[in-house]
Symmetry: D2
Subunit: 123 residues, 4 copies
Amino acid sequence: MNETLVTVVGNVATRPEFRKTPTGVPVARFRLATTARRWDRERGGWSDGHTSFYTVWAWRQLGENVVASVGVGEPLLVQGRLRVREEERDGQRWISADVDAIACGHDLTRGTSAFRRLSAARP
Amino acid sequence: MNETLVTVVGNVATRPEFRKTPTGVPVARFRLATTARRWDRERGGWSDGHTSFYTVWAWRQLGENVVASVGVGEPLLVQGRLRVREEERDGQRWISADVDAIACGHDLTRGTSAFRRLSAARP
Amino acid sequence: MNETLVTVVGNVATRPEFRKTPTGVPVARFRLATTARRWDRERGGWSDGHTSFYTVWAWRQLGENVVASVGVGEPLLVQGRLRVREEERDGQRWISADVDAIACGHDLTRGTSAFRRLSAARP
Amino acid sequence: MNETLVTVVGNVATRPEFRKTPTGVPVARFRLATTARRWDRERGGWSDGHTSFYTVWAWRQLGENVVASVGVGEPLLVQGRLRVREEERDGQRWISADVDAIACGHDLTRGTSAFRRLSAARP
């Protein structure tokens, strides 16, 4: 309830880093950049708008598959729960927009992909 | 294209401020807080999660109606375009999560509302 | 998981009907019509596109507030879980697009609203 | 404006069919099935809910890439514009829930994918 679901379509800006939490849960983290494109009525063409950056977290099996599949610069769509997170680091206030990924995949508007299903069953 | 649409359900955290841009476009701005609620499997009950804050921008007629209708603490749902914006202010890096509202209204899960339609036609 | 969340912005097409399920759960049901508007590059103006109809279900307190607040023709935004439901009725196959509302409210792009919060605590 | 954006996460239920419209625009069409999974508080486990079917339309380059990449049974996430379409066919009323895809990709929660970017630039 009250979760903010979002789908971000963009490009991978940093190589997905894989690690395990202290309790042993695997997670991959990367930055995703998305640039709005707008129809410019006056020029009669598309132009680039603002670029937003998100920190994407992919947990467990999704995290392992992201690390095995995704490289910098590749186009991705990510659906997940959005959180705006604020922290203090070295005396500086720091805000980031985080997406806890529910599902994600290479965007087929930009190319083709070959899929290989995991053998193990998952919920 | 590549716009990130989001619907945020939360509570108004600051009084909507109304002003006009240098070119005369009316806009209202306010902060919206949303707290995720999760089902706690162990306790068998709901508990509060993380609170995210958004800066909402309501333009033109929507902005005027927001100022005429919305007060601090009221529950709202806002659909809009999400931007993560970064700026430098007084030597500090500053990031905010902005929502350019497309539509918004008082959340009827929390109470009732009496609506009055504007007489003028709008696109 | 795998729930399809949707936010529909449209107009109420039928008067919300209130009833109780056999187990006593209150629910309001109404039809919501939404018409896409597109920027026509050739004409340089907006034009009406296709109209979609949804059946909205509002449960419990939300249902009671909808019945107390919402009338035919009023503009509404509804966030909820989308289901495409198929049934057999009088030998005819019948499909409907249902939205189980999570939150909804009068759309302030079209007018103003006066909100009254319920006194009761919430889950 | 007033477009209903949706992200559907599901499985491909029919082989994508490729054709050209009378004006020569390439398009791929397929059915996508999505089954909600819910946490069953009483049993303490996940259970399958309702299955919804969507007709997905992928236009132009996206359509060509879908046909080259996607097979029956594969997991996909699709972001697009939702339309509930009603037509009369052989004297029967027929309703379908259509998604005009904006972006789509293989869901990495279920396996890995190898991406190959198209050489040509696209808006």
